[in-house]
């Protein structure tokens, strides 16, 4: 996008058109309007406005950066022009929309949208306001490019922190509501009411704190690292054990702090972590792109459902056969059947690579769903009515003392811990090295004596086992199994987690699940645009950072060996979300 063109003005025109196109698209998709209902800073900035601001700002920043040789004034003017042209597209939309009814084509082009875009004003004044708004955002972008490098990161982190905390204000309210002492101290920072974000003072505090933390983080980290390294080995072990101990205790106490709703969300996130860890073996370690991964999840869920449901009989909504086993009896079978399905799928695709493999696995996933939906298997799978009332895990006397959310929380936490352990051990084993060798070059791997057949099948089987496990717990947790829970989008969702987090990187996958599944789950109005954003993210990741946000070292090397050596400066330590387990 930032090709060096002859004149900054031409760049400005082109970037302006791109900015305008993006702004127009997001506006007509209804994002600006929907997001406007959520305030980030009460009365100052809504999420909708900040969306527009960030478009012009980022592209204006790009314009200023693409001509480093031009004089300061020219760069500033070019960025301003970029923002102005961008906003002119929206002026055009308002002008057109007020004369012609666009709603038959674009359902989101409502009169309320135009009022919103005009910032509540009318007539020529409103258009002038819009133009000034766009130009100012573009100019701010140029201003950002002037900030010295070492302050730019902290500045951006500060802004992002304000946005994030502003978005999560409702949840923070709920969470700290249980601790009156905390509420008394933080009340002035959070606006009252629903979806109102931070107060201006609160925003300032969050911004400054986040900025300072990032500014001094490298220093603090450096000092503590040198200190720890200076210690004798035994002491270092103690510190590591202590750190993990604190993490474990915090995780164990979490449901008490989070309350039932957030605990439930974390359970869903952990189910996705389980799936993503499994897919990470198939895609990340072994390099086999599996688009039908949800099939194994479905097989786990259906096994759990069929083996444990109590709704058996000839009536509608019931299946004809089932042993009504307990959760714990059914769980190994769910994993076993998923493994069998993994091997069964693995054999026909042994000879296929890349693209073919992707399509065939996708087909496999769809076949499983069609079979579950069809009338042919209805007596056994319930068809579109699904299976209800699978068993709940029983933990003896503990079951009664725990709420159902906490019960699943502890169960899933234990499973996630076990699966992470297995995944790490597998990665570091001879098997893991075979997978990675195969990922990098199948022919060479074969030549050095790796058995492709067993290596591939083991990857499919272990991935399938983890998905089956996740599916079985999912079935029990949700309490019903319907075929529509197992569509392609679920596979894509997990794939997005693995890719954005970093293929092959276990901490990356966990962080990916938290951000890509947890956040949309918490911010319900985003969920409509969830897959739109995922799609954009997948493309952007592949274009700019194919190794993922938290990359695995080998993978990163492999992806960058093709580009010219030293072509781009390595970005310094990025602020990594959810730094759990990054040792």
């Amino acid at each position: 996008m930032t090709t060096r063109s002859s004149s900054p003005w031409i760049t400005a025109l082109r970037s302006g058109a791109i900015a305008g196109g993006i702004a127009l698209l997001l506006t007509l998709m209804g994002m600006v309007k929907t997001f406007d209902e959520r305030d980030i800073v009460t009365g100052v900035m809504s999420l909708g406005t900040s969306l527009l601001v960030s478009i012009y700002l980022v592209i204006g920043y790009g314009t200023a950066r693409s001509h480093p040789g031009s004089p300061l004034g020219v760069r500033l003017a070019a960025s301003t022009l970029t923002g102005l042209i961008g906003e002119l597209f929206l002026v055009g939309l308002v002008l057109l929309g007020q004369r012609v009814n666009l709603r038959p084509v674009f359902p989101n082009a409502s009169p309320e949208l135009y009022v919103l875009l005009q910032f509540g004003g009318t007539g020529i004044r409103a258009y002038l306001t819009m133009a000034v708004f766009g130009a100012a955002c573009g100019a701010l972008g140029a201003g950002l490019s002037l900030v010295p490098r070492q302050f730019r990161g902290p500045l951006i982190t500060g802004i992002l922190a304000v946005v994030l905390i502003g978005l999560l204000e409702d949840l923070i309210h709920i969470t700290i509501g249980a601790f009156p002492a905390v509420v008394a101290y933080t009340d002035w920072m959070l606006a009252s009411g629903v979806q109102n974000g931070l107060t201006s003072a609160g925003a300032a505090v969050v911004f400054i704190v986040a900025m300072l933390v990032v500014l001094f983080w490298p220093g603090i980290r450096g000092v503590s690292q040198t200190r720890i390294q200076a210690m004798p080995v035994g002491q270092r072990h103690v510190i590591a054990i202590l750190a993990y101990g604190i993490l474990a205790v915090a995780l164990l106490l979490l449901p008490n702090v989070l309350g039932p709703y957030l605990t439930d969300v974390s359970n869903s996130v952990m189910i996705f972590v389980l799936m993503a860890l499994g897919l990470n073996i198939v895609v990340g370690f072994a390099g086999l792109l599996d688009l039908g991964y949800v099939a194994f999840f479905a097989i786990g869920a259906y096994t759990m459902g069929i083996l444990t449901t109590t709704a058996i009989g000839g009536e509608s909504g019931q299946i004809v056969w089932g042993p009504t086993a307990s959760f714990w009896t059914a769980l190994p079978f769910a994993v076993l059947f998923s493994i069998l399905a993994g091997v069964l799928l693995g054999i026909p695709v042994l000879r296929m690579r890349g693209d073919y493999l992707a399509i065939v696995t996708l087909g496999f996933g769809e076949i499983v769903r069609y079979l579950a939906l069809s009338d042919a298997l209805k007596p056994y799978t319930g068809g579109s009515q699904g299976i209800v009332e699978p068993a709940i895990p029983s933990l003896g006397r503990l079951t009664a003392s725990l709420s159902s959310q906490s019960l699943y929380y502890y169960l899933l936490l234990a499973l996630v811990a076990i699966v992470i352990f297995i995944a790490i051990r597998m990665r570091d084993s001879r098997q893991g090295r075979s997978w990675m060798a195969m990922r990098e070059d199948e022919d060479v791997a074969q030549a050095v004596g790796i058995r492709l057949v067993s290596t591939k099948l083991l990857a499919f089987a272990s991935g399938a086992a983890m998905a089956g496990l996740a599916g079985a717990v999912f079935a029990s947790k949700v309490g019903s199994i319907y075929p529509h829970s197992f569509d392609l989008l679920k596979s894509i969702n997990v794939l997005a987690i693995v890719i954005v987090g970093g293929m092959g990187s276990i901490p990356g996958v966990i962080a990916g699940a938290l951000v890509l599944f947890g956040l949309p789950e918490l911010l319900r109005e985003f969920s409509e645009y969830r897959y739109f954003v995922f799609g954009a993210m997948l493309v952007a990741m592949m274009l700019f950072r194919p190794e993922g946000v938290i990359p695995e070292a080998k993978r990163k090397q492999e992806l960058h060996e093709l580009s010219e050596p030293g072509g781009e400066p390595a970005p310094e330590v990025l602020a990594s979300p959810g730094g759990a387990g990054s040792v």
């Binding site: 992707a358 769809e366 799609g535 592949m542 492999e558």
Partner: protein
């Protein structure tokens, strides 16, 4: 080393066993269905005809897959969205032309306008896709453009959903296209079926001649053979690649309008199933092979339409048509096991397959 070869052969045996089981199952099912005498000859002809119609649409989409695959060695996963975009955007002129009565007075001109709008939209989407998402990744490892394509597909689907809403929209009724002429065995051949089959056949003929006989077509073939050598011969590789995306987009857009004229219903998600089917058709015919894509489309359309009932009804499977899509996927797996080069394809080198 010997043990390794033993294992390898075992895999072959298992794959052949799977394939043989499916084929024998299909054969037995067919015999049972025919013996049951539940269906008359007219039904079979009717099913074949609708299979051919459906297959023509698959063939048109498959051309886009096959040409892009031939030239870039990647599956353009977002091609199904290129198809969808044409069908979707042509809905608006269709609605206006039908409402104003223009469609009734000048059905031919009206259809040409619809095809033009559909093709233009799809071409735009295809070219933007190539420019933004695929071109920067031409030298990247294989998995990278594939994931990009999946992301682009998701992006386009949900962009259309956001722009035009998630409801199912329908094409207006077009009285001039309704009606039929009598065919053999007392079958009625609908006008729309004739339109689809003839339009597809004409377009594919034109494409074949274009690729085989013109200078630009020769450039396309040269680039798909070897990009670097083609560039040395003075061929504009980037331009040629864009040209294939334009051709594939135009065909997909036309296919989208034809599809919409048959089924009427339009959603943002409509591209997925035809897209996968068309890919199957492209593989069936031999990927990278243009007449192969046409043949593959027709064979798949008929297999799906006739085969679903023929193979499954004899076993007393209730509502076999629900498994129509599963049949298409099984066909795909079978071909990849039995003959990965497709019906007309040459034996591909391992780098191509």
């Amino acid at each position: 080393m010997r043990r390794f070869f033993e294992r390898y052969d075992l895999v072959d045996v298992i794959m052949w066993l799977i394939a043989a089981t499916i084929l024998i199952g299909a054969l037995l099912g067919s015999v049972k269905t025919v013996q049951s005498g539940k269906y008359s000859a007219a039904t079979w002809v009717d099913l074949t005809l609708s299979g051919l119609t459906q297959g023509s649409v698959y063939a048109l989409i498959a051309l886009g897959y096959t040409m892009v695959y031939g030239i870039l060695r990647m599956i353009n996963f977002a091609h199904s969205e290129v198809f969808m975009s044409g069908a979707y955007v042509a809905l608006f002129p269709a609605t206006w032309l039908a409402a104003s009565g223009f469609m009734n007075e000048n059905p031919v001109l009206g259809l040409i306008i619809l095809f033009f709008v559909g093709a233009l939209t799809s071409v735009t989407v295809a070219v933007l896709l190539e420019r933004i998402a695929y071109r920067p990744l031409r030298r990247a490892p294989r998995l990278v453009p594939l994931i990009t394509a999946i992301g682009a597909s998701l992006f386009l689907q949900y962009m259309f959903r956001g722009l035009f809403g998630s409801t199912v929209r329908s094409y207006p009724p077009m009285p001039r296209l309704e009606g039929s002429i009598p065919g053999p065995f007392g079958v009625e051949i609908e006008y729309i079926q004739i339109l689809v089959i003839v339009a597809a056949a004409l377009m594919m003929l034109v494409l074949y001649l274009y690729v085989q006989r013109t200078r630009a077509g020769r450039a396309i073939r040269a680039v798909s053979e070897d990009k670097d050598v083609a560039a040395l011969m003075g061929i504009d590789v980037d331009g040629t690649i864009v040209q294939t995306f334009v051709l594939g987009g135009a065909f997909a857009g036309t296919a989208g309008v034809l599809y919409a004229l048959i089924y009427r219903q339009i959603t943002f998600f409509m591209g997925f199933i035809p897209g996968i089917k068309a890919f199957t058709a492209a593989v069936l015919g031999g990927i990278g092979n243009i007449p192969g894509a046409a043949l593959g489309g027709l064979v798949l359309g008929v297999t799906e339409s006739v085969g679903t009932i023929l193979f499954l009804d004899g076993y007393g499977v209730p509502a076999p048509y629900q498994l129509k899509d599963a049949i298409a996927f099984i066909v795909l797996v079978l071909i990849l096991i039995l003959r990965p080069s497709g019906i007309l394809g040459e034996r591909l080198a391992r780098t191509k397959a």
